[in-house]
């Protein structure tokens, strides 16, 4: 008899504990993000991989030397580096220069192999994630800007 009553009281106590916890959860601030409303203020975490970009500086120069390591490291053939040969007028030597850097977001798995392979840090991730377009051809983006040139490294020694 004593055990029976003890069991009931203990059971009620444990049930109240559970209800207390769910009430705590109810009063807690909610984790859900209201997306279209908060797109102006939305803050992504640092390592979020949204879109591959090629950073350009103020003189419209990028760091890509068209070595195509990213193209070779890409498992899906997402990146295509089109280069051209340009003869340097001062020395008369032929030099490989980036013509078009094509990135097809339709086949990209955001695996990060290209940016780790890049020796020049020429490509980087941005948190932009609204990739929806109406045609597949629009998914192929050219990452280098029109008329951009290679950034000349100044030797600091």
């Amino acid at each position: 008899m004593f055990r029976y009553i003890k069991e009931i009281v203990w059971g009620i106590y444990r049930l109240l504990q559970g209800m207390y916890i769910s009430m705590l959860n109810m009063l807690r601030p909610k984790v859900t993000e209201k997306y279209p409303e908060n797109r102006k203020t939305k803050v992504h975490f640092e390592r979020f991989r949204g879109l591959l970009t090629m950073p350009h500086n103020a003189q419209n120069e990028h760091k890509c030397t068209a070595c195509a390591l990213c193209m070779m490291s890409c498992p899906n053939g997402t990146i295509r580096v089109v280069s051209k040969k340009v003869t340097d007028e001062a020395t008369g030597k032929e030099k490989k220069v980036l013509d078009r850097y094509l990135y097809d977001i339709g086949s990209c798995t955001f695996c990060d192999l290209c940016t780790t392979a890049c020796p020049q840090d020429a490509i980087a991730w941005t948190p932009f994630f609204e990739h929806t377009v109406y045609t597949r051809s629009k998914l192929v983006k050219q990452l280098n800007r029109e008329g951009s040139t290679l950034e000349v490294k100044t030797k600091t020694e």
Binding site: M19, I21, S22, M23, N25, K30, T32, K34
Partner: protein, 354 residues
């Protein structure tokens, strides 16, 4: 305090000017029926919205918040969707019973809903055995559930229906016994009189400890009768897909869904009427000014407020506890809840006699 009987009498007199007495009765019955069914549907929509919101909040989510302000039209959109859905033809099912079962469940809950006192003077039928009627007609739903399980010709539905039958029949006892404690206290089974007797203070305060115990026993047993929360093993989705309404689709499933939510409302409404004073405002003997101020709040607001408080309690329980096993469920009823209820009636009788 505003009494709705003024409105109903005015309508009655208006009709009597133009129609003979038989036609007046017919028109009034139709009006009451349409109003009740309309209220039934609206309350069900509110309850489904409330359930989804409360559930979401308890899980640290926001719940439906896209359709209309705060998502209040989400359930309306869902209702339109369910009305437009196809009724899947079940091969080798007992079609007559299959169709009938959904109506059984619905009729049982509409029948109970119709007898509730919603506000002062707003009660469709006032039986002198009101409590008895409520208990009897609300347990008619189990017939519908058993029929649904049997006629669907599926193992999941029949197991779900059998579990539901066992559960409803056992918890009906505690449900009745805990209401009996209040009947002992009030000395009447008529719902209008029960509400009137709580004018000075509600039965949960009048009845000392036994009324409080009876209140919680009723909430637990009633919750089990609605097949929800930790007692939802007739439709345990992990083992029985959806229990007795597995084979139903479209609006037939909608009927079961509607009936489930309305049963929750009905249990809460009975608890509010029997223990928390129904539409009667909170009166404390001796505090005349306070009592007078409370009378200004409309009676329908009091009734709905208490009912939705009980509904919230049911939701709180549902989203807190894990589902029971069938043996635990029956052990809980026969070994714990029913003895408590029986002793409680004895206690109540002693309280009343003293």
């Amino acid at each position: 305090m505003f009494s709705f009987s003024i409105v109903t009498q005015w309508i009655d007199e208006l009709l009597r000017q133009y129609l003979c007495s038989g036609a007046v009765l017919l028109v009034e019955c139709l009006l009451v029926g349409i109003l009740l069914l309309g209220a039934y549907a609206v309350f069900a929509l509110i309850l489904i919205y409330m359930e989804r919101r409360v559930c979401a909040f308890m899980q640290c989510r926001l719940g439906p918040n896209r359709v209309g302000p705060f998502g209040i039209f989400q359930t309306v959109a869902d209702m339109i969707k369910i009305l437009l859905k196809e009724l899947v033809h079940i091969d080798r099912a007992d079609h007559l019973l299959f169709r009938l079962a959904a109506f059984f469940v619905l009729v049982a809950s509409v029948g109970t809903f119709g007898a509730l006192p919603f506000a002062k003077g707003l009660q469709a039928v006032d039986f002198n055995v009101g409590v008895f009627y409520l208990l009897a007609i609300s347990s008619l739903g189990v017939v519908g559930i058993l029929l649904a399980g049997w006629s669907s010709n599926s193992k999941y539905t029949i197991i779900g229906a059998m579990r539901s039958g066992a559960q409803l029949i056992s918890y009906e006892l505690s449900c009745g016994l805990s209401l009996l404690a209040i009947v002992v206290l009030s000395g009447t089974m008529q719902l209008s009189e029960i509400v009137e007797l709580q004018a000075d203070s509600w039965f949960i305060f009048q009845g000392h400890v036994p009324a409080v115990i009876a209140f919680f026993c009723y909430l637990i047993a009633g919750h089990a009768e609605t097949n929800r929360g930790p007692f939802d093993l007739p439709e345990a989705e992990s083992e029985l897909t959806a229990g007795y309404h597995t084979e139903y689709s479209g609006i037939q499933f909608g009927f079961f869904y509607l009936a489930e939510y309305m049963n929750m409302f009905i249990v809460a409404a009975i608890a509010a009427t029997m223990f928390l004073g129904g539409w009667m405002p909170l009166h404390i003997p001796g505090w005349e000014a306070f009592n007078h101020a409370m009378d200004y709040i409309p009676s329908a607001v009091w009734f709905l407020g208490k009912t939705f408080m009980c509904v919230f309690f049911a939701l709180w329980v549902r989203w807190s506890f894990p589902r029971l096993r069938i043996d635990q469920l029956l052990k809980f009823e026969w070994k714990i809840l029913m003895p408590i209820c029986l002793i409680n009636i004895l206690l109540m009788a002693v309280c009343v006699a003293l």
